[in-house]
Structure formats: C-alpha cells, structure tokens
Symmetry: C2
Subunit: 201 residues, 2 copies
C-alpha cells in the first residue's frame, strides 16, 4: 500500500517556507505521509495581485512583526538566531531552477542548505558560487546541477510549476496540498495538512 501524499510548495525567499522545510520531514515520517517537495516562485503570483515586492515590505507594520515572529519561532524550533537577508526578499530564481532540476531525493537537503545560508548565514542565494558550494556540501555534482538548471526544460518546468500553483489557488508560501486538492497555507498549518493527508490516505 502506498503512503498518502502531500505536496509541499515552497519559495526560497520565504522565511516561513524555511521553517516548514526544517520541520516537515520528521512530522511527515511520524504521520506516515510522503512529501513531494515542489519549489516555485511567488513573485509572478504577487505581481498578478498588484504587488511589486513582498507584502512584508509593502506593509511595514506587518513586516516588522513577521521578523519578530521569525526570531521567536527560530528560538522555539531550536534553530540558530535569524539573520535578515539583505536585500529582502532575495532573488530566488537560480535556487528554484537548481532545485527543480535536482533528483527528488536530493531536493530536501539542498533546499534546507539554501535556507540556512540565507536566513542563518546571511549569504546571497542568487550568487552562483554560493549555490555551487551548497550543492557540493549536499553531496551533489555541482557542475552538472548548475548546467541542468539552465536547460530549457528546467526553465519550462519551473514556469509550469508557478502556473500550476496559481491554478491550484496558491497565493502564498509555504502551501500544502493533499491528493484530493485540499489547500493549507502557512507553516502554522503543516500539522493540520499532514493529518488531513493521512485521513485521505
């Protein structure tokens, strides 16, 4: 019998996507749910809503509290102190293309490595040398992965993922979607999404 599935839609520039990426594997294992890691870009979806940057920048009170909330949640989750990317949001196109091109089995470790570089070590994730190092540290052939990221089929696959996200009703990250299409938004909903997937399975 196959495990129930949950798709984890994440954006590399998104702080709360990072928290979900740190938490999801242990929780999914405990729930007996299989996770499909699906990188996408929120930028095009935000632009379609009339936003030119993150809502955390557009609405300063919201942004201030998000950073404070992230500091508190890092402490609660046992993560090292947060460093704020500069600029925020980081350009996540390269990381998303690389993650899209990777084999499924390599995606989780690379994804977490990118987030930690970005939010713990304040490194520029649009920088090719940074991404190549993170690939090597994840045990991946960095040259091959960087080349695969630039293939037309990779670029098309990421564009398709964004279009699919939008058509599924996704408007933020992280989002979780069960096999039946039940959509949960936000790191706060991870446990509920897993429970729902399990009940469907």
């Amino acid at each position: 019998m196959s495990k129930p599935k949950l798709t984890f839609w994440y954006e590399f520039a998104s702080p709360y996507s990072w928290l979900a990426a740190e938490r999801i594997e242990a929780l999914a294992a405990a729930a007996g749910v299989e996770i499909d890691w699906r990188p996408f870009l929120l930028g095009p979806i935000f632009v379609a809503q009339g936003w030119t940057t993150s809502p955390f920048n557009l609405y300063p009170a919201k942004g201030n509290n998000m950073w404070r909330d992230m500091e508190r949640l890092c402490a609660r989750t046992g993560l090292p102190p947060l460093t704020r990317p500069d600029p925020f949001p980081q350009n996540s196109l390269l990381a998303a293309r690389v993650a899209t091109a990777l084999p499924d089995a390599s995606r989780p470790a690379f994804t977490r490595a990118v987030y930690r570089a970005e939010f713990t070590h304040k490194q520029p994730i649009a920088d090719r040398t940074v991404i190549a190092r993170l690939l090597r540290d994840s045990g991946v052939d960095a040259d091959a992965a960087m080349a695969a990221a630039e293939l037309p089929e990779t670029k098309a696959a990421l564009r398709n993922a964004i279009e699919q996200a939008r058509s599924l009703g996704i408007y933020g990250a992280p989002s979780f979607i069960t096999a039946s299409g039940e959509l949960f938004w936000g790191n706060d909903r991870l446990e509920q999404a897993l429970a729902w997937a399990r009940e469907e399975g």
Copy 2:
C-alpha cells in the same frame, strides 16, 4: 500578587478574532493570565494601508482559502458550521461601540454572542435590534448599553483604541500584546502569546 496580563485586540468583523474569542478564556485560565478584552476597528488601519475592504475580498485566492480554513477550524474547535456573513465584512462600528461602553465583566459574553450571531447564525450585526437582543441575552440592560454606546466619550474611546492599536504596530486581528509590548498576530499565536505573558509575569 497580580496575574500577568495580555491585551486581546479584536475586530467584530474578523473571522479569526471570533475563534480567539471562543478559545481565550479557558486557555488564559490554564495559563494564569488575565485578559483585557479590547475591541477596535481594523477599517481605518486598512484604509491607511491603501485597502478599501478586507484583504480577503481584495485577494480572491486568499479569501477562498480563508473561508475553507475557517470551516476546517470550526470543526476542529468544536464550533457549529460556519455561515458566511453577507456582506463580508460586516459593519462592526455599532458592536464595537457597545462593547467599548460595557463594563469589563460584561464584554466577553457579549463579544462571543455577537460573533456567534454573525458567523453561526448569519445575522446582521450592524442592526440595532440584533445588538439589543444580544445584550439582553447576555444579561445586560440593553437600553442603557445602547445609549452608552452613543455617548461622545464612548466614540472617543473607540477612536483612541484604534489610534493606540496603530501606534502599537497592530495591522490585523486578532492581535495579542503582553505587558512589555510583545505583539503576536493571529488566532494561531494565542498559545504563544499566553506563554510569553506568563514568562514576563
């Protein structure tokens, strides 16, 4: 020794404020925290951000998922099935003025009664006969409370609450603020806000 305090900022038109209003008393009692129920209006704060209505209306994908999320959360919280107010958001000025004018001890029961009328029974909370009935059902002298709601000092107190909310960095509802000024946004953060207040106390 006095109990640690937490201020509960809520908006009568806000679905997630309702969930917090249903949950907060038992959780606060368990945490040994005293709650200050503080009604305010989000409308003026939204207008200052350039929004003419709720973001759940401005961004349909976000709104669709909020309603679905509320349905799920009502079931999880043991509440009756949600009914969507029409129109949404309801005009919450009258309810907020009445709640502002009530004695502290009468505010929680009246507040919950308004929310249940709005989100369970689809009643128009801007209607004076609805509010008067809810007051009576809460054991309050309805005529006196309705009259107190229209006093200039009540209107000024509500305006001051909105201005105070904005100056404290509040941008959504529900929000929770500890004695030291730590701000938590959202029904999802209620438990963390109570724990923080307790540690401060």
